[in-house]
């Protein structure tokens, strides 16, 4: 059901990634990321999908000895975010991330969301108030927290904490948002809320999501990529992947006959 024209937001070109010690976790992956679309990465545990996702905000830089090869190019400015000299902090402002387990900071709800803005040097109280409200609204949690912004974030439920983390990621107005198993710690209703939120967020930004849950990929994504042993086995629009995949490996995985 994708009929509108697509423009590229980012793409990987022959991306390889080696962990310290030589494990070749991502093998020569070239994949487009279309603007205002949700792309899902599926595949069995250890297939490299989370590793691939983390390349997008240079998470692997935090550990010495890891090595990237190839490019991740952002459009329209054509910046290769893996290039030496490109500041990882700047990359993370443009490409934010939401993790598997909600991980709010041990601060108030307000300060969690304001954090990224403060790092950026924003100290104007009124500006911060506005941005925090906007981000919380964008993450569909404003109505639940507006009367207790100074409460500790840990007092929220799991689903609320995850939406707070999304608000925190939204506050710096990223262009791409990465979700690493965003609902695997949540119950079905909280999951549905997050997924619905993702569908709304894609009007504003571009999303790349890693999920173990194939049904989640089927429900939320516009494009799906199947990864296995570090390789991109198949990439296509989600309707096609889930109704008539071209590769037998993909079919076996999505129909539960793998192995």
């Amino acid at each position: 059901m994708n009929t509108t024209t697509q423009s590229l937001k980012a793409e990987t070109r022959n991306l390889n990634f080696f962990y310290n010690g030589g494990n070749h976790a991502v093998k020569n992956v070239s994949m487009p990321l279309y603007e205002n679309k949700i792309t899902a990465l599926i595949g069995p545990s250890g297939c490299g999908k989370s590793t691939f996702l983390r390349c997008f905000n240079r998470m692997h830089d935090l550990y010495p000895g890891n090595k990237y090869e190839g490019q991740i190019v952002m459009h329209p400015d054509n910046t290769n975010i893996l290039e030496q000299g490109v500041d990882a902090i700047e990359v993370r402002m443009r490409i934010s991330m939401v993790f598997q387990k909600p991980n709010p900071f041990p601060k108030s709800i307000y300060e969690n969301v304001a954090y990224g803005l403060r790092v950026r040097g924003e100290n104007n109280k009124r500006m911060l108030d506005d941005k925090v409200e906007e981000a919380l609204k964008g993450a569909a949690i404003w109505n639940e927290v507006k009367d207790r912004l100074q409460d500790l974030a840990f007092n929220l439920s799991g689903g609320q904490q995850q939406r707070l983390c999304i608000a925190r990621a939204l506050a710096t107005e990223p262009e791409i948002m990465l979700f690493d198993e965003p609902t695997s710690a949540l119950d079905p209703i909280a999951t549905a809320n997050i997924e619905e939120l993702m569908s709304e967020l894609k009007n504003k930004l571009t999303i790349l999501v890693v999920t173990h849950n194939m049904q989640q990929a089927a429900r939320v994504s516009d494009y799906t990529a199947y990864m296995y042993l570090g390789e991109m086995m198949e990439y296509g629009d989600t309707d096609t992947i889930f109704t008539r995949p071209t590769r037998k490996e993909t079919e076996d995985y999505i129909t539960g006959k793998f192995g």
Binding site: N193, A218, D239, F242
Partner: protein, 235 residues
Amino acid sequence: MSSEHIYKQYDNELEAVRAKVLEMGSLVEQQIVDALESLVSHDTKLAETVIKRDHMVNALEVQIDEDCSYIIARRQPAAGDLRIILMMIKTITDLERIGDEAAKIARFSQKTIETDRMWKPRFAEIKLMATLAREMLHMSLDAFARSDATKVLPIAQMDEQVDEQYQTTIRQLITFMLEDPRTISMSLEVLFVSKAIERIGDHAKNISEYVVYMVKGKDVRHISMEEMEEVAKQP
């Protein structure tokens, strides 16, 4: 659909397919009306239009099937959602066949006009049957649009009336053919048209049964009228 899903997109997808099924339904209704009109008023142009338009009915069937397969693959519909999807997939098969019957009538109409063989006296009965069959289809689609199982109750009875009239027509045609063998080819044409109308009634009745399944979750095919009434009236 009484309440909304958390996934608004899911609601939109279901609603879009539902709308397409209704669109296909009204197109097919129009096909029946025009096919019969071409027969009654000796309008070859109208018959031609009906025949040409049949591909639109077919295209909608293909589209709706595809949309449903995407929804199944992406949403794993359950309960009421599953029933509406199954119902729509089955309904469009019947609608497509009704479309074929209408095109068939239009082709007969063309042929009889060209050879100037249509037999006026038989029109009245055909028209009555056709009106009933069309009304059955209309009621089934209306019940589908409103998700109201009670609306389909008269349809089974109407189907019996159509069948009775079909039998009556056959008996009369046989009499004519026995009396005068020159009427055989004309009689056969009338018979084919009647048969097409009778089939339209059967398809409309099928659709009405799918509506009951969709709304009540009970399969009412191949059961008595009384049982069906009971199911449809359950709260």
